[in-house]
């Protein structure tokens, strides 16, 4: 009894100390602490502010269900690939081969249907398998052979891209042929119209994927292991995480998601085009960085990557509607990237 009372007294004293501490932390400190615990907050705020600013400048032209959902359609591919990129970056890696894997997967889906005449679902499954296999090679080289992810995926990017051009002979499969003979390939291009707001299946897939991954990363053992591996692989190993298995699974999942992005790409552009998606790796890294995910691994929310992709989309469409030269978009995105990393560094100081 008496010990309990003493505990309570101690707790009460601790409370005042904590309050005192809080007081000294001040407004900026509280903000820093809040941002540290909620990594997706910064990109969300930037996104909402930029929508508001462009809405004020452009009025109903921008602030319409049509234009706002158009942004979703324009970022869907980058958004899906950014989800894959986020997973890899959370393990303190980087994946330069994402775009190439997406395009090769879409080419596999197209050629398997049209060149070999396989049933479309089989062709799609083959495309998804192709992406997963590319991811497996990445993961195996990173986890087993212990090569740096940058080098592995730099090589894989070239290999996959060259394989794509050699295999496809750079032939485009036309949209009209696909919709006549293999409409399932354009599945993600189907759309739902809600009073002017147009949601393609690809957009819905992107949102569901990101929310699903956010849940898995936060709530499952595998998800926590991904963060642990990215934060400190040795500590993770010592506390019983199977680091190599986790890494390989992350790269495989990333490859699979890229293959889905390739499928969604067919829905978006209608045709199977081996030359599309060339800049997806850079665009996805941009989205991830603007989304506040640390390139050093182990920190950030996958929701941030979606917000990052949307910020780029809002700036691109908003500036075009304002009639600005396209170069201004690139310039502002450059500023955003540097600002995002600067904010990240500042938030990290809270831990020290």
């Amino acid at each position: 009894m008496s010990s309990g009372q003493r505990f309570e007294a101690a707790a009460a004293r601790d409370d005042t100390v904590a309050e005192f501490d809080d007081h000294r932390r001040g407004l900026v400190g509280t903000l820093q602490h809040f941002l540290h615990t909620t990594p997706a907050a910064v990109p969300l705020i930037v996104l909402l502010v930029s929508i508001a600013v462009f809405g004020l400048l452009l009025g109903s032209k921008f602030f319409s269900p049509f234009a706002l959902t158009l942004i979703l359609q324009q970022v869907q591919i980058v958004g899906i690939v950014a989800a894959a990129q986020s997973l890899v970056i959370l393990t303190a890696g980087i994946d330069l081969s994402v775009g190439a894997i997406a395009v090769l997967s879409s080419v596999v889906m197209g050629t398997f249907s049209f060149r070999y005449g396989l049933p479309v679902p089989v062709a799609i499954a083959s495309g998804l398998l192709c992406g997963t296999l590319c991811g497996f090679f990445n993961g195996w080289l990173v986890a087993r052979v212990k090569l740096p992810p940058f080098i592995v995926t730099l090589g894989m990017w070239q290999i996959v891209l060259a394989a794509n051009f050699l295999y496809s002979a750079n032939e485009t499969i036309r949209s009209q042929d696909i919709s006549a003979n293999a409409p399932l390939l354009q599945f993600f291009g189907n759309k739902i119209n809600l009073g002017g707001a147009i949601f393609t299946y690809g957009v819905i897939f992107m949102v569901v994927l990101v929310i699903g991954l956010a849940y898995v990363l936060r709530q499952t053992a595998w998800g926590r292991h991904v963060y642990a591996v990215g934060d400190d692989p040795e500590a993770a190993e010592l506390s019983g995480v199977q680091v190599r298995k986790t890494l390989i699974s992350v790269y495989m999942l990333s490859g699979l998601i890229c293959a889905f992005a390739g499928w969604a790409l067919i829905g978006r552009i209608g045709s199977v085009s081996p030359t599309s998606g060339q800049l997806l790796n850079i665009e996805s890294i941009t989205a991830v960085v603007i989304g506040g995910i640390s390139l050093f691994g182990g920190r950030g929310s996958i929701l941030g990557a979606l917000f990052g992709a949307l910020i780029v989309g809002v700036f691109t469409l908003g500036l075009r509607l304002l009639g600005a030269d396209a170069q201004w978009t690139y310039l502002l995105i450059g500023v955003l990237i540097i600002a995002a990393v600067a904010v990240d560094q500042w938030i990290r100081k809270v831990a020290a």
């Binding site: 158009l70 291009g189 552009i269 085009s273």
Partner: protein
């Protein structure tokens, strides 16, 4: 031991240089070897080279704009003792010193498809008249619309913000053919005609074409004429129009004449396209190098132009009065890629 090695090496050198003296060798340097246009160019050159017994080596940049690789390729060709180079330059002015170096070494340099700047840096230029290609589709679009041309709402889907010459020539040619005042004909985007809704860039692929079309539709939903830099961009623009259900009341015109593009003209996706002939371009180039190696004759340009015009034809199934055209059946025979 050492002496025998040196002797063997000398014998080897002598035999290779002898081998070179017997054969005429030539180089083809393209922007990339992924774009079907250049793939077809390479095919045309290879076929002609085999026919004439010329030893052809092909080089290409990794991506469009890869200047370093092209300079290296020119240096390799000089070292190799080639008689001539066929070049589609990525960077038309920076490549000039390397080209002059090759010409001083006695090589015939022919610019294919893309003129160097200045154009006389190469011995000759074999190219499509891109301005004429644009003009043909412009005239066709104006004729197809008839009186409605005066109220047209035009979207211009261009290549890149850096305004490479091929993109500017096609764009400005189209506008002249349509009857729009050009302003400065050396750049696009400075026109004041209210019929032009806007310019956007596509990078010449489906994805860029769709995005650019969506951006312009967000500005003006009732666009009814779409100029596109090439057929992949046109296919992307069509998808954007289809998404809002306007694909049937918009006229899309394009340039290139690739096989998927011609098929799209047949299916009514593209109204008309100006077809160019990369196979012919490359074959003529190889013939010119053979003639140069034989007796030192240089090819001469088409009268009235500063380059050799390899021809362009309008492909459409809806011929318009006053604009010469071929139908898609003929276009399919002549198409590439």
């Amino acid at each position: 031991m050492k002496r025998t090695l040196i002797a063997a090496a000398a014998a080897l050198l002598a035999s290779t240089s002898l081998g070179l003296a017997e054969n005429i060798s030539a180089c083809l340097i393209t922007k990339t070897d992924t774009n079907p246009f250049f793939v077809k160019m390479k095919e045309g050159a290879t076929e002609k080279a085999q026919e004439l017994g010329i030893d052809l080596k092909s080089f290409a940049g990794k991506i469009d704009g890869d200047h370093e690789t092209q300079v290296q390729a020119i240096e390799t060709c000089i070292a190799d003792g080639a008689k001539g180079i066929l070049l589609t330059a990525s960077d038309t002015s920076s490549i000039v010193p390397a080209v002059l170096q090759a010409r001083e070494a006695g090589l015939l340099v022919i610019a294919l498809d893309t003129p160097l700047s200045p154009i006389d840096s190469a011995d000759a230029t074999f190219a499509t008249d891109n301005f004429l290609a644009g003009e043909l589709i412009g005239k066709w679009a104006a004729a197809a619309l008839g009186d409605e041309a005066a109220n047209a709402k035009i979207a211009m889907l261009d290549l890149a913000v850096s305004q490479p010459t091929v993109g500017v020539l096609r764009d400005q040619g189209f506008l002249k053919g349509f009857g729009v005042d050009l302003g400065d004909p050396n750049k696009w985007g400075d026109e004041t005609d209210p019929r032009i809704v806007g310019n956007d860039v596509t990078a010449g692929n489906e994805e860029g074409g769709r995005r650019a079309m969506e951006n312009l539709l967000a500005q003006e939903p009732f666009i009814n004429v779409v100029y596109t830099i090439n057929e992949p961009a046109a296919a992307g623009a069509y998808e954007a129009l289809k998404a809002i259900g306007r694909e049937n009341d918009v006229l899309i015109v394009s340039v290139d004449g690739g096989c998927p593009g011609v098929a799209n003209v047949k299916d009514g996706v593209i109204g008309a396209t100006s077809q160019q002939y990369p196979l012919l371009m490359a074959a003529l180039g190889i013939e010119a190098i053979a003639a140069w190696a034989k007796d030192g004759t240089k090819p001469s340009p088409t009268p009235g132009k500063d380059f050799f015009d390899t021809g362009v034809a309008l492909v459409t199934d809806k011929p318009a009065d006053g604009v010469e055209s071929i139908d898609t059946a003929k276009g399919k025979e002549l198409c590439w890629g």
